[in-house]
């Protein structure tokens, strides 16, 4: 193939062809193209001497490459910025400790831009072109669903940090966030018990996670709690007009507003709630989608007295968290806030490190097998203690926090360690 090209070029350089200037440049172009192709196809990474990895991943004797894929721009940037900051902090700490299997971790970061097809495209780039050993990324369920086929086809490994609706268990994903039974159901149980709530108004953003979450919530409210759903509304992601919905809520007078509004829309939602006079003294509101990151944009004074159910709050009082918050602020600034997903994202690199060291290899199949033995635990997790279950999810606690004016939450309820169950019977 290469010789043919060179032959053709020589043929063109016969005396009959007067365009020597063009010819000369054509020759150099072809020659450099050939050289370039040759270097590209040569192996870019040396095989480790002790057979540490066996599949074609970007691992050398001194370095291993991972990918970070979050939205740095768009309506989800408000939520996802923290997650990638936490992942970078964890990776820096691991590198300072000597890396994994003696190798320093190198990061390639891509921007999903709050656009799901972009997430899929960038994940394909990270797995196929950059051959990363693991990806820490995605945030919304829509982005996860968009990248899932890519990870399953290319046999990649994704550490997914967000609380989500469950009903999924992929061989190629480790879920460091809560699934529905650890968040949605526990939250409903708490508000029914503590506030005696019987009627619920459900509101969320219009995509798979809020819709599936509300489906699960409705089943739980109607079948288990014996309550009633008096309204259910969805608004498009990024929408800012909540006036009509607020009036509808006022008409129905629910005991609890159960909210799953996501990303930037939260700012408009809570500001307009406050402007309409719906404050915590008059109305109980429990949300499953507001963390310290969103409160930074919304403003603590607009949320005062409302509740969120998460597994982590920045105000948690334990020694792991104190150290974590201090280190996070040192790296990212004193004004940083740390939300639930940020903390879950922080766990990702540590869980990967533990699994790789257990497997003795970066090979995705071996790392997954090591993770599935169900005994990898992190005693230094900022949320306290977590254990990786063989269904790729984490044992964790559920906590309800009440928001204060300063943008931090007071934890008013803490559950026991809940076993993850992504496919609970009766909720499909």
């Amino acid at each position: 193939m290469n010789t043919n090209l060179v032959d053709n070029v020589s043929r063109l350089s016969s005396p009959r062809n007067a365009k020597t200037g063009l010819l000369a440049s054509l020759k150099t172009l072809t020659a450099s193209a050939v050289l370039f192709a040759a270097t590209m196809s040569a192996p870019q990474f040396a095989m480790a001497e002790d057979g540490v990895m066996t599949t074609g991943l970007a691992v050398t004797d001194t370095e291993v490459t991972v990918g970070i894929l979050h939205s740095l721009t768009g309506t989800m940037a408000i939520s996802e910025t923290g997650a990638q900051e936490a992942e970078k902090l964890a990776i820096k700490q691991i590198n300072d400790m000597g890396g994994i299997l003696g190798r320093q971790i190198k990061i390639i970061q891509e921007d999903g831009a709050s656009d799901w097809p972009t997430f899929a495209e960038k994940s394909r780039k990270l797995l196929v072109r950059d051959k990363v050993a693991a990806v820490f990324g995605a945030w919304t369920s829509a982005s996860r669903k968009a990248v899932l086929p890519v990870f399953e086809k290319e046999n990649g490994l994704l550490y997914y940090p967000t609380f989500y609706e469950g009903l999924e268990q992929s061989k190629n994903v480790i879920y460091t966030g809560q699934e529905a039974t650890q968040q949605i159901l526990d939250g409903l149980n708490w508000v029914a018990k503590e506030k005696g709530a019987k009627t619920f108004y459900l509101i969320g953003s219009d995509y798979i996670w809020p819709r599936t979450s509300m489906k699960i919530a409705r089943k739980h409210i109607e079948n288990v709690l014996g309550g009633k759903v008096v309204g259910e509304q969805y608004k498009p992601l990024g929408d800012t007009q909540f006036g009509s919905v607020i009036n509808k809520i006022r008409l129905k007078k629910p005991d609890v507003i159960y909210a799953a509004v996501v990303g930037g829309s939260n700012v408009a939602w809570f500001k307009q709630l406050k402007a309409a006079g719906i404050t915590a003294q008059k109305q109980t509101l429990l949300t499953i989608s507001v963390t310290e990151d969103e409160v930074l944009g919304i403003g603590g004074e607009n949320l005062e007295g409302f509740y969120s159910i998460m597994k982590y709050f920045q105000s948690l009082d334990n020694p792991n968290n104190a150290a974590f918050v201090a280190q996070f602020k040192e790296m990212w600034g004193d004004d940083s806030v740390i939300g639930d997903v940020t903390q879950a994202a922080y766990l990702g690199p540590w869980l990967w490190k533990a699994a790789v060291e257990k497997a003795g290899s970066f090979d995705v199949d071996k790392v997954v097998a090591a993770s599935e033995e169900g005994d990898i635990e992190l005693k230094t997790a900022p949320e306290g203690y977590v254990k990786l279950h063989k269904n790729h999810h984490l044992w964790s606690k559920a906590r309800v926090g009440k928001w204060n004016k300063d943008g931090q939450a007071t934890v008013v309820y803490e559950s026991e360690l809940i076993e993850p169950d992504p496919f609970p019977a009766g909720y499909q």
């Binding site: 740095l72 721009t73 408000i78 910025t81 969805y234 009036n247 008409l251 930037g264 719906i278």
Partner: protein, 307 residues
Amino acid sequence: MGEYTYSELGSILAMQGFAGISLFSVLLLMALGLAIIFGQMGVINMAHGEFMAVGAYTTYFLSVLTEQYLPSLMPYYFIFAIVIAFLVAGVLGYLAEFALIRHLYKRPLDTLLATWGLSLIMQQSFRSIFGAREVSPTLPEWLLGSYQPTETIDIPLNGIFVLVLTGVVTLGVFYLLYKSSWGLRVRATTQNRVMSGAVGINTKKVDRYTFALGCGIAGIAGAAFTTIASTGPTTGSLYIVDTFMVVVFGGAASLFGTIVSAFTIAQTQSILEFFISGSMAKVYTLFALVLILMFKPEGLFASKVRR
């Protein structure tokens, strides 16, 4: 429906009516600037949303400054912020017209592409200067909360503020355009550029100031919106489609048409949203809009001008 008395139902309807009027004022404020630029000058300004974002970011910037250096002025800064937002956006519009738009008056489709490029540049500038996350200025106390004429009616104060502001701006624009000598020159240039030039009107200068005015009004709109939602680099693109819709539906060259169209669209969407889900309400409103435009492509109030 839950248990309610007729007086409560009345209150809810009153609040819903206000929500409709509130949406009307939002749409009108956005569309006024574009009505001037697109309607009077025929320039398709795809960067209009970004000029609104300029106004919003100016307000945010002033909010941060006031908090840091002059905290005692917090309750008053907002009015200043609106004026300054008008000036900043206006100046930027003036520069944009001088550098970019004036070369493209004979090529309307190229202005579309050029202003689209301008909007991308502006979005990235916001990202680089203010960061990719959404920001909000700290609103003064008198804008927060609601006005309660009766026990059960809660009228959001920021809604009243935006309504009043829109009224002031609309009256200002009408006065400027129909009662001042400058407005006379603008209308002359729009109707017959060659003849206006022949009678001694500096059409280039008129164009520049008109464009600057349109962008300035967009800046006011952006400042007003900080009371409703947060601002991010891509916030402008959220508003641009609705804005064009209002202007085109009303009839591009008619300011009165813009007002009527904003009112119609806002009320239809608001009323529908109350009875059916939010997304479907928008679908039906747009569907009706498309149907009407198919029969009357010049919009509701077409100007009868021979071109």
